[in-house]
Amino acid sequence: MTSILVVSALAAVSIFNGCRDVVFNNPLDPNASRANLTIQRVFATLLSGPGDICFDGEKIWKAGAEGRTSAFDMESGTAIRSFHLIPATGIAFLERRLYLCGEENQVLVYDPLSGSLITRISTSEVYPRLLAARETDLLLFDSRSESVFSLNPETRELQRLFQLSGLATGGMEFVEGSVLISDSASDTLYRLTYDGAVIDVYRSPLGGTAGICKDDRGYIYLMGLDGQVAKVTLP
């Protein structure tokens, strides 16, 4: 009870003292909080269920396992656009195109303005479940071999990067030269190098993290199965 009162009092003090990302901190070790994933904001959307998310420069798109792909405002969570495309688990936005994948050995490319199918990229023995856009290519998580591949959408060249088995993968994103992947079974986020070495492990603030994306200011957005979105920063 005492700790609750202390926290409540500190919360009240923080509001009246003006707000920072970290409202109050240990004065003897002000960078202590930076060792962990820090929540910036939490907001709710009406888009629940499995399916990764991606950022297109101004809004966030969510793939829907039931076939509906929707875009929502990243500040208020309001739905802005919606298309009935394919049942999808992975989604990425690269060079004005929306890339979607389900549980088949293909990546489908759509026009984000009209929702029309532009092309279909066959991936043969690779069954992409998750997608993430890198600078000029895509990262994809193959559910058949449980490995991460890179795919060049122009040349269709596939290259295996590393294996990552035993995870209930929820979402994947490319973050500053590394890959961020969520494990929805243990509510954990793994940050990995391109050879699969673990750089960092974070506890996810959401139960059942279904999607991850990064905006142009470097904030990470985590989306839960219940439609809640947490805007966080990495240490």
Partner: protein, 599 residues
């Protein structure tokens, strides 16, 4: 003399046939109708008359679903073949050919005809939805037969929004085409970035073959666009049905532009308690080897609630994988699933993975238990990953006349994963406690709605932490105005250094909402940033104007970025409480719009 009876008989048969034909069609006229094959509905307005041999329905607005042959007529009345004896009705529901109908006045049933005639829900697309398609038709009347074939009169087809050659009669929908072989255009798209795309469909029904195919032809070179010049995107499935059951299924898809295809042959059936599915897949694309894989799945149904399964997949001399699962469900209270999977791949790289998993769920009157255990072992690198999770949510407790709710959930997480040449593990028990209130009355007419969550984890991975999530909403109502302040804070007690740190989860926001009896509803919400400066503003407003007009608006504005995320401003008018016309501007659609809606 012998010719006269024949002539009479022929005339009789001809009249009967014509009469029967007339009986099985419905004739609908009016001032304006619109139809699009993508929407599969007809919308009409102005002096609508629906008639067959025995019935005449009149109204002002019509929605007619061609697929189900059901229609709704607003603002009119139903009568017999002549005008006498008509009854006024607000809404008439009719279905089938010849129609069964049901009509209502002021929400009460006035009369029904035919079995099963009743009220039903019908989708009401806007005019924009009709006109948003590459091809649509405007006309003055139409006939519908019992198969749903729609033959329109005085028709103007619109292609890419432009009117084309008017026609006296034209079949705009061919009706139920089940069990027929067809090839038709589904859509025509053109975008400046991607060029021209023609989407066609093939429905095949040649005994013993049944299939559906989508073929999209795209052209880019003509518009001097980069990338693949032209090609076909095709996909579909073909089933072999020599008798009632399906013998073989063939699924195919490909892209001629990148010279790729995927072909899957499959068969599934059930023999007594044994259900099976086998498939053979071939996949190829330019620059890669042919990929060929056999898959098989066997499911046993020995008794209710138990379905052991065995799955197998084999890529010739390259990879093999098999999986066993034993889902067991006892009385919907206990669920147990034990399983294992082994995957050996040699496809340019070597991989050998073994996975064991067990899930157990249990439900009782006071609590439920969810647990899962998984071991994944890399058989080549001899490293493994282990996960175990357990949570026991107790049933919520309500206090003070269901004003306060308390929930309590103990949980345990174990995680072990390879990190470099070693492995890291964490064993983390924890508890989650939540208390929330519907509202506490404070002085000055203020109401406080707090919600508090405590989440403590004895973290084996990092350090022990206690997380507090506090959500506060302070509400004050003055007449029709409701002012609310909302704030969310996440704070964390860290045992290291014995200190508390906090971050905002929901930034401070101020909301003002005004409602009055004249139908005004204005809501302004300002969300502050971390420095308590305005960051985002959302506005939602409706005001009633003279002549029964209503002004509505919806805005999201980023104050810091000085730009609108979305703007919707429109004026609407409702006619006779049924028909709504909206006109305004949408930033999301990037255009001015006019919509016709039924309310």
């Amino acid at each position: 003399m012998g010719k006269l009876p024949k002539l009479l008989c022929l005339s009789f048969f001809l009249c009967t046939a014509l009469g029967a034909a007339a009986n099985t069609s419905l004739h609908i006229t009016g001032r304006y109708f619109i139809y699009s094959d993508k929407v599969k509905m007809v919308f009409g307005c102005g002096d609508i008359v629906v008639r067959d041999e025995t019935l005449r329905l009149r109204g002002e607005v019509l929605y007619y679903d061609v697929s189900s042959r059901r229609g709704v007529l607003y603002g009119g009345h139903a009568s017999g073949p002549e005008e006498s004896g008509s009854d006024s009705a607000d809404i008439v529901y009719f279905q089938g050919v010849p129609p069964r109908f049901h009509y209502e006045s002021l929400g009460e049933r006035v009369e029904s005809r035919g079995t099963g005639a009743q009220r039903f829900q019908l989708r009401k697309p806007t005019l924009e939805e009709f006109r948003d398609n590459a091809v649509y038709f405007e006309f003055r009347g139409f006939n519908v037969d019992s198969r749903g074939r729609v033959r329109a009169e005085t028709v103007i087809p619109y292609i890419m929004g432009m009117p084309s050659m008017p026609m006296r009669r034209f079949t705009v929908n061919r009706g139920s085409l089940k069990d027929r072989t067809l090839f038709y255009i589904q859509d025509l798209n053109y975008t400046r970035a991607e060029g021209l795309g023609l989407d066609t469909r093939l429905q095949l029904h040649l005994h013993p073959l049944r299939g559906n195919f989508s073929i999209i032809a795209y052209e880019r070179e003509l518009f001097r666009l980069p990338g693949i010049r032209r090609g076909l995107l095709y996909s579909g499935q073909l089933a072999l049905h020599p008798k009632k059951s399906e013998l073989l299924n063939l699924a195919i898809r490909g892209n001629t532009g990148e010279r790729s295809f995927n072909l899957t042959l499959s068969r599934s059936s059930r023999i007594g308690p044994l259900e099976y599915k086998i498939s053979q897949q071939f996949s190829d694309r330019s620059g890669s080897d042919l990929f060929s894989e056999i898959r098989a799945q066997v499911i046993l149904h020995p008794f209710k609630g138990f379905q052991p399964q065995f799955s197998f997949r084999y890529n010739w001399q390259r990879s093999v994988a098999y999986q066993i699962a034993t889902p067991l469900e006892l009385g919907k209270k206990i669920r147990l699933n034990l399983g294992m999977e082994r995957r050996i791949l040699r496809e340019g790289f070597e991989s050998d993975q073994m996975e064991l998993r067990a899930d157990f769920d249990f439900q009782s009157r006071w609590f439920s238990l969810d647990s899962g255990f998984r071991i994944s072992q890399d058989m080549l690198a001899k490293v493994n990953r282990k996960n175990f999770s357990l949570q026991i949510p107790f049933k919520p407790i309500s206090l003070l006349g269901k004003n306060i709710f308390l929930t309590f959930t103990p949980f345990y997480l174990f995680n072990s994963f390879p990190s470099g040449e070693e492995s890291q593990s964490s064993s983390s028990p924890g508890i989650r406690f939540q208390a929330r209130s519907r509202g506490l009355l404070l002085p000055l007419g203020l109401t406080l709605r707090p919600s508090f969550t405590l989440n403590h984890i004895w973290d084996g991975l990092q350090e022990d932490m206690t997380d507090f999530r506090t959500e506060l909403a302070l509400v004050r109502r003055v007449g029709g105005l409701e002012l609310a302040m909302e704030y969310g804070l996440a704070s964390r007690f860290r045992s290291q250094g014995f200190w508390v740190e906090g971050t905002h989860t929901r930034n401070l926001s101020v909301t003002g909402e005004f409602r009055n009896r004249n139908g005004a509803n204005l809501r302004l919400r300002m969300i502050m940033d971390n420095d308590l400066k305005p960051e985002t503003m959302t506005w939602n407003g409706q005001i009633r104007l003279p002549w029964n007009l209503r002004l509505s608006s919806f805005v999201i504005y980023y104050i810091r970025g000085d730009r609108f995320q979305t703007v919707e401003v429109f004026i609407e008018k409702v006619f006779k409480h049924k028909l709504k016309i909206q006109g305004g501007y949408s930033l999301a659609l990037r255009k001015f719009f006019i919509k016709l809606l039924l309310v």
